[in-house]
């Protein structure tokens, strides 16, 4: 488990994946590596681990803004439709009510806000996360399957790695990794 993967020289290296025994050692490793100067660290945890985002120095998520835009678009387009239909497209005398019966137009517009927000939220999340993406180099490591059960993993991309891979591997083991793998690029 501890042996690095045997690689043929022509395969390009995507980076390194290492496993940690628990959440605390993962958090400690992330902090140590950040101090070492690694910027593009990616961690994999079987549940959202509190404090990890801060340790990784992740930027604020754009999701609230995306959802807000979705909500505003949804609501205003429904209201605009109602206004246009009743005042311009096909005005009708309905029960003697005014053409612009704004109180009646609010409930559909409200539902438009919710629908727009939810759709933008879900599709926005996929877009921000770069999903769906069924293939990824880390999936090449069989042990990575534990990431969705009880494994805590850490990946460092090769593009960022200033030192020879051997240095990083020993550094990871020093930080308490229970396994280190070189991840091929596919």
């Amino acid at each position: 488990m501890n042996e690095p993967l045997n690689q043929s020289p022509e395969t390009k290296r995507w980076g390194h994946l290492s496993q940690f025994s628990d959440a605390d050692s993962l958090l400690a490793a992330v902090k140590a590596l950040r101090d070492d100067g690694y910027e593009q660290i990616e961690a994999f945890t079987p549940f959202p681990l509190e404090g990890l985002s801060e340790q990784l120095h992740l930027p604020r998520t754009p999701m609230p803004l995306i959802i807000l835009i979705g909500g505003l678009l949804g609501g205003s387009s429904i209201y605009a439709l109602e206004y246009w239909v009743n005042l311009s497209a096909y005005p009708l005398n309905i029960g003697g009510r005014p053409l612009h019966s704004w109180p009646s137009f609010i409930p559909p517009a409200f539902e438009g806000v919710v629908l727009g927000a939810a759709i933008f939220g879900v599709y926005g999340l996929l877009w921000v996360c770069g999903l769906p993406r069924l293939n990824h180099p880390v999936f090449e490591i069989e042990e990575f399957q534990r990431a969705s059960v009880d494994g805590f993993f850490l990946a460092i991309e090769a593009t960022e790695d200033p030192s020879p891979p051997e240095n990083l591997e020993s550094r990871l083991q020093e930080l308490g990794a229970t396994g280190v793998w070189e991840v091929p690029d596919v």
Partner: protein, 539 residues
Amino acid sequence: MLSESPNETSRLVDWVIPKPHFLESWGDARAYDGTASIIQPMISPLYPGLSEIELLASLLGNNPANGYSEVRKTWERRLGQEKNSSAWQQALADGVIEETAFAPVPLSIEEVPVKENSESSPSDEWDVIVKPDPTIWDGRFANNGWLQELPKPLTHVVWDNTAWIAPADAEQLKLSNRDLLEISHADETFELPVWIVPGHARGCVTVFAGYGRDVVGRVGNQTGYPVKLNSSSDGSVTVRPVGRRSNVVTTQHHQTMEGRNLARAGTVAEFLANTEQPEFAHPPSSAPDATMYQQWSYDGHKWGMTIDLTACVGCSACVIACQSENNIPVVGKEQCDMNRHMHWIRVDTYHKGSPEQPEETLHQPVPCMHCEHAPCEVVCPVAATNHSDEGLNQMIYNRCVGTRYCSNNCPYKVRRFNFFDFSDAFLTDPKLDLLSNPEVTVRERGVMEKCTYCVQRIENARIHSQVENRELADGDIRTACQTACPAEAIRFGDLNDPQSKVHETAQHSLNYGLLEELNVRPRTTYLTEVTNPKEAPQP
């Protein structure tokens, strides 16, 4: 025998000659004052047959018999012989032959003693009153679906006949509506369903004959109960509850107003006391006339209707007129039992006061009110019902998806729904196809329908006036119910025309809107019933 359709007699005879309908035959008749009239067929006979005149003529040897030539022969001295004699043409156009009335006979009227309503409990002997049925008469119209389904005055029973008794008698005999009552007279015994009628005299039973025929036709078979009385109608009988029930169907289950001012009434004395704002026509109401909305203006025509409750006698002629004009289907007893009858106008009956001695029995025809603030329109999700610029509450049948929300939200419940394909026969039966009015859409299954103020008549009148290059005049448009009303209780016209008859009644101090407290602003309004009761003698 000569018969329009197979019946009990035709089953027993050897020879039956088919008779055309009276609207298919030539004939003549005299009015109550003796004025003669030529009866002209409306259509040529659908099926071959002989009218009475033709049969008699052929028995006299005039073959081939021809109703037209027999009628011409009868009147040739008066109206001439030649084919297009002007006198003949005139008589046909007028409908009557002038100056054929008889001279009046002077008569004196004797006071007829009226039997006082007895308060005593009934003895074993009950009086029986036999009446022809109010809709199918002596049974000759038993195969007429319209008349079968026309709610009978007061009881609103359809497709059946009943025996009327007083509420107190019903209590004593422990009878409720639909219980079967055995009526025996000499060696005749028959059963009729009981109907309790407020105001009916005690110790007396009113039975309606005409039902229970054996051989009628598709519509009239298996309807009602036979009345078997050999003697004259003023005989006495014994009655006995049978302990079984019938499945008689009514279209109005409640006949009290529950303290609501629906059908309003007062006396002449009360009216004369305050002609400007009679209290009985305008009881204090908590509902304001205010609205938050800017009003739609109706600058052109503004159609409206008034119904005079004083004039209305509750005969239901308007219901049949509407049914024939608007292709309203007959749905049958079972569907009526499920409250799915289709009449666009109905005549409600309400009793005021105690059931034994109701102060008054009121009839209130209820068509669509064409509310200016129509609650039905607001709730339709597809705008299938909306307002025309002349104030008609329009129903767009082919847009209707059938949510029935409009009917739920109609305080008058005048909307009717096609729960099944009720109109199917209009399209598939070639005879019924002839029956339908080509100017009115036949509605399909799952669609809501209701009174249109006879919009086809409005449009026809408009087209005629445009052809004649003139303005629409008051009286050009007469709705079907209005034309049929024998008491002229219904007026229809333009509320914007100050000269119109309907404008006059709409502005009258006796005018009120049904459920006007809901502020739906009905265009159909009522004139309060005004009676002139004879003062009860002081004891």
